[in-house]
Amino acid sequence: MYRYDEYDQSIVDARVEEFRDQVERRLSGALTEDQFKPLRLMNGLYLQLHAYMLRVAVPYGTLDSRQMRMLGHIARKYDRGYGHFTTRQNIQYNWIKLADAPDILAELATVQMHAIQTSGNCIRNISSDQFAGAAADEVADPRPWAELLRQWSTFHPEFTYLPRKFKIAVIAADEDRAAMRLHDIGIQLLERDGVLGAKIFVGGGMGRTPMIAHEVKDFITADHLMSYLEACLRVYNRYGRRDNIYKARIKILLHEIGVDAYREQVEAEFAAIRDLGIDPPVAELARITAMFAGPDFASDAPDTIDRSDPDFAVWLDQNVAAHKQPGHAIVTISLKPIGGIPGDASADQIDLMADLAERYGHDELRVTHAQNIVLPHVRKADLYAIWTALRDAGLAEANLDLISDIIACPGLDYCSLANARSIPLAQKIGERFAGRQRELGELKLKISGCINACGHHHAGHIGILGVDKKGTENYQLLLGGSGAEDVSLGKITGPGFDEDGVVDAIERVTDRYVELREGGERFLDTYRRVGMQPFKEAIYG
């Protein structure tokens, strides 16, 4: 894992001091709310329906147990005893007092954490593959590159007042576990002639105009990555639309001028700046990479698992993935208990997960964009003990990638932008399908409470979009989206439903799927083979 040196620490400490001063100026009236807003947003502080919400950065979703415990401590001391893990692999707290925010940042800084650029029209937290460093299919660990990007993007003087927010993901495997092509910039590491480099995709995103990112650069090596990305961002900063907030993302710029024209402008900009000394030396990437070398795995860890407890066996088959190292495994802890709030964890649960990471998991945890927690490096021999502890804490739901493993935005229960509630709907769906979800197999369901799409509904095998229909909450149903390597955008089935109606409609869709599926087809495969029509008939017929 990355460890701050004196330079990193001094920058984060200075940020605490700066924000403390800004809060004091706001409380004294020296700053208007309008002037304060972009400053607090740059520190992840939003004003929600009931209180301030603070979003804390978890760079590329990686944490150690000490950092995880700090998240539990903050939940206990400054919030109502819980936190909410987000689709950008961050955590947010919904009941924060403005006057406490500087103290929270100061506490975070003691464990090398911060809330820098978790909001605002700037480069946001860099996201990555939650299985990085543990997956057998990666060409390299993508996190050193993500850390390089974290440092480059932190307080970038030119790109702090972009037309709109800017999200970057880095992956290093063909299997895309980070929705890379639904980012403003998606980076896939690959090897060519023995050299590690990056393929650059630009212009993806969800929101009200979902788009899949286009390949803009076939291959760029680490020694010019930053200058190339500066060129990408500069073209956007200069020519992205600023007249309409809903058309301000880079995807709209690419859509309007075309990917070829965008690429040409980027290449011209790149030619002008590539030799100006913007790129850190390769020794910097090497320094960071050394810190991600990974734990010393026991070479004699037994590879067999006692499956005699049937409940454990179910969890094992659903939530445990193959590790690159024999005798080891990757555990995904579901934060989607049936009837619970997707992504929420209590302070006690956060502490327990930290304890498990420390005791069994080489002190590492990951947050996933699907709002779950991963223990990336555990011995197979310890899985039963881990499962037992999780079960006792209400964290052993065996539903990874099943219909109740729902991504949901906070919705109208918290969010001032929402048109409809997401959480109660997620709870109803979980309850309705709990008994037959394993029979339905992989089925990614995602709910957004408004068209801003924070719940990734466009990328759901089944997506739900909450809208306001003449003052009542109404839900549209989408089918066929995917955020993975087979990326696609869902299509609306037809007229919307009320809350119970949409749950019934999903049941008719899944019933139809069970009738139609062939062999081991997932729902998404069947949908792609037969199209929308049979499902439409099932729903509205």
Partner: protein, 152 residues
């Protein structure tokens, strides 16, 4: 300690400057006007103007003023860097909705003169300018990025 020099111009404007030469007193002309004549030495760029249009003429320009219609409009940061990257050494002035919390970033992009619409608190500015011991990236100023400090 980095501190600006406060200058009151003949036009009644208060400038915060980080250079000690004499304030250029020729009024700035628009980009269109500049490109249409040959002898102007001061230019004003609106947020949407293409700074690259000035590059063939940098030798004759003493002052470029870049407009910030609202502090949220960040185009001027790129315009400033483009001019400095091309070797412009004259006065680069940020004018308009320039707020104290934005000035440190503007300094890094190459601005060395500020004409804020509303007065900027000098003590706050001095504090902010000296707050961060070092930046992470190389930009248009002389500050040394962390990676350079780490690797020489």
């Amino acid at each position: 300690m980095v501190e600006p020099i406060t200058v009151n111009t003949n036009a009644g404007e208060t400038l915060l400057r980080f250079r000690d030469d004499v304030v250029h007193d020729e009024p700035a002309v628009t980009l269109d006007a500049f490109l249409g004549q040959t002898n102007a030495t001061a230019v004003r760029l609106e947020a949407g103007d293409d700074a690259r249009a000035l590059l063939p003429h940098l030798g004759q320009i003493a002052l470029v003023e870049i407009s910030f219609p609202t502090f949220r409009d960040g185009r001027g940061y790129s315009a400033a860097r483009i001019l400095r990257e091309a070797g412009f050494e004259g006065e680069l002035r940020a004018a308009g909705d320039v707020l104290v919390d934005q000035i440190p970033h503007m300094r890094r992009c190459g601005f060395d003169s500020f004409a804020p619409e509303k007065p900027v608190d000098a003590a706050t500015l001095t504090k902010l300018l000296n707050l961060y011991p070092q930046p992470y990236q190389k930009a248009a100023d002389t500050r040394v990025p962390v990676w350079k400090l780490r690797h020489g």
